[in-house]
Symmetry: C2
Subunit: 345 residues, 2 copies
């Protein structure tokens, strides 16, 4: 078993750690990647905290999943070249999953890899995207199909960034936290479903535990050869739903699509007799506390199938899912036929 230790993750008041890191690293230049939202709302909270003699350049991209493509990477590589980024330069990503995923890909391929730090500003990115070392972009309607495994040197978790986050974004990230509980930690699941209100105050105390669940999995199986596949619970169907809705008028947020994906994958687990009907119903009833509107969305089998067939986990065109067998336990490499998929939709 190869252990790849995820690097330092710091909670609260973590700028002290960042400044110490910058001081030791002595980067030739610092580049901060933002979108127009994090430029306005988060950068003013980051910039005054950074103490350095290195020059700082701001790189801004358009927010949203539609920017997460190779064209934006080409622009970012060109900007880095033009602004004379070298191997000793440091990239700091201030944003949600699009920024940290794509920024990580750009950093890990520029001059064969320069250092980067993630400062996630959404709950989704704190709880999931910014930790674990998966970088990537969407390509030809396939989610994260081009990317690398590359760890940030540091991840700073500052729940105060969530203060300006819209409710639906908070709820999107909360879905990945629920997933962490479901696949490997019943206590975490119980704590989360007992949150009275889905607010920053309600969620923040649980972020560290949710990250630790992911960290434990990733440290054991960094390259997703076995255990890490459990983190994909809900994602085979969820990514399909997300990709399909990406081109609709009101795209679903990642976590919303994953929540719906988890519901459908629980149905499949029940049909495969991995999980009882009662337990499935109990979990979905708990989903409905905060996601009743999402659970009502009807998804057509034919609409999402083309995307599901492109899923990275598939082998020889067999659909590969990670399915729950109990709360806190997830099986991976559950191959699922088209018929099984069709039955539940």
């Amino acid at each position: 078993m190869k252990i790849v230790e995820m690097n330092a993750i710091y909670y609260q008041n973590s700028f002290e750690k960042l400044n110490k890191f910058i001081d030791q690293k002595n980067p030739s230049k610092i580049f901060i990647l933002v979108d127009e939202n994090t430029h306005e709302y988060c950068l003013p909270k980051v910039l005054p905290e950074i103490e350095t003699h290195a020059s700082i350049e701001i790189l801004e991209i358009e927010s949203g999943e539609k920017s997460k493509n190779i064209e934006t990477c080409i622009q970012l590589w060109a900007s880095l070249l033009e602004l004379k980024a070298d191997r000793k330069s440091l990239l700091i990503h201030v944003g949600g999953g699009v920024i940290t995923d794509m920024g990580g890909f750009v950093a890990s391929t520029y001059m064969r890899g320069i250092s980067f730090v993630n400062i996630p500003t959404t709950l989704l990115s704190m709880a999931d995207a910014s930790v674990g070392g998966k970088t990537g972009i969407d390509f030809e309607q396939s989610k994260n199909i081009i990317g690398t495994f590359a760890l940030p040197e540091m991840v700073l978790i500052q729940p105060s960034f969530l203060d300006t986050l819209p409710y639906n974004q908070l709820r999107s990230g909360f879905a990945e936290m629920l997933k962490h509980g479901l696949i490997s930690d019943k206590e975490h699941w119980n704590a989360l479903i007992n949150i009275k209100e889905l607010t920053v105050e309600g969620v923040s105390p649980h972020i560290e535990r949710t990250i630790n669940i992911k960290k434990q999995v990733v440290d054991i199986d960094f390259k997703e050869e076995n255990l890490r596949k459990t983190l994909n619970f809900g994602h085979t169907i969820g990514h399909g739903i997300e990709s399909y809705f990406l081109h609709s008028k009101v795209p679903l947020l990642h976590g919303e699509a994953i929540l719906l994906g988890m519901k459908y994958e629980l149905e499949i687990a029940q049909n495969k007799q991995l999980i009882s009907e009662d337990l499935k119903n109990e979990i979905i009833a708990n989903f409905s506390i905060f996601y009743s509107d999402i659970l009502q969305i009807k998804v057509e089998f034919e609409s999402i199938l083309p995307y599901i067939l492109k899923d990275k986990k598939n082998e020889k065109q067999n659909i590969n899912m990670s399915l729950l067998s109990e709360i806190g336990k997830c099986e991976y490499d559950c191959f699922t036929s088209l018929d099984e998929l069709k039955t539940i939709m």
Copy 2:
């Protein structure tokens, strides 16, 4: 010190090893990347040797350094997606440095990395590009500026491919072999300069040793943090020359540019009193056995400077060279001023 072992390199009759590997790996599909030349001359020597039940698809790109760009990668990623390559697919690169460098980049970023095997068909690629795990493409006139560190699962060295290689291509690869001798193995250097004729028969017996020199360096410092920089001897100025000539009517081959780069960098080493004038002259005299025409090429300081300033080894815009101090010994991180550079041109 972190040791990353380069993977299996096999010499002669190596298809037996490849077939054993394919049998064990049981890939979902095999993709063979070629250009129009290796399609015509090399693929007919490869295809009949491969024993597998997996389907084989041929991906062809245009030959030459001008294809080594992000647009070609985009085409290759799209082809892989369209042909339903999955994480268990295997890429086999049959070609020179462009094919193995770019193919490695495409493989290492498709679904965050699929397995690949290099079958180099030029001396340059056998002696250098296909081993060591550097992948990359050119971008905005900068050589190999976008890329990854990713090792092939296997490298097959079949000197018989060299039979159809033009003389100037053979000579180009030979320059990297000379470099390996110069930076760390005087015996290898002596053996090479005593070759009577630059032919496949003359060169082939020395390929294994030249690769082993590179392998020793790469195993110690895979990510080029220290010792691996010595492999860049001749390349700071050489890459600049190569990039400049890429846009001329008759581009210089990589090894030709590197040979010229080594000459200029020997001049700088002498001016820095790292090496004596006599030793410098002795080395250049040996270069002139096979490269007298190349050594006569006049390069203008102003022409190549913009490219040199973009070199990946530079830090804070200081030009960083690896310079010879004796035959078999190379110093790295030798920072060189613009004045020092101008003096020798």
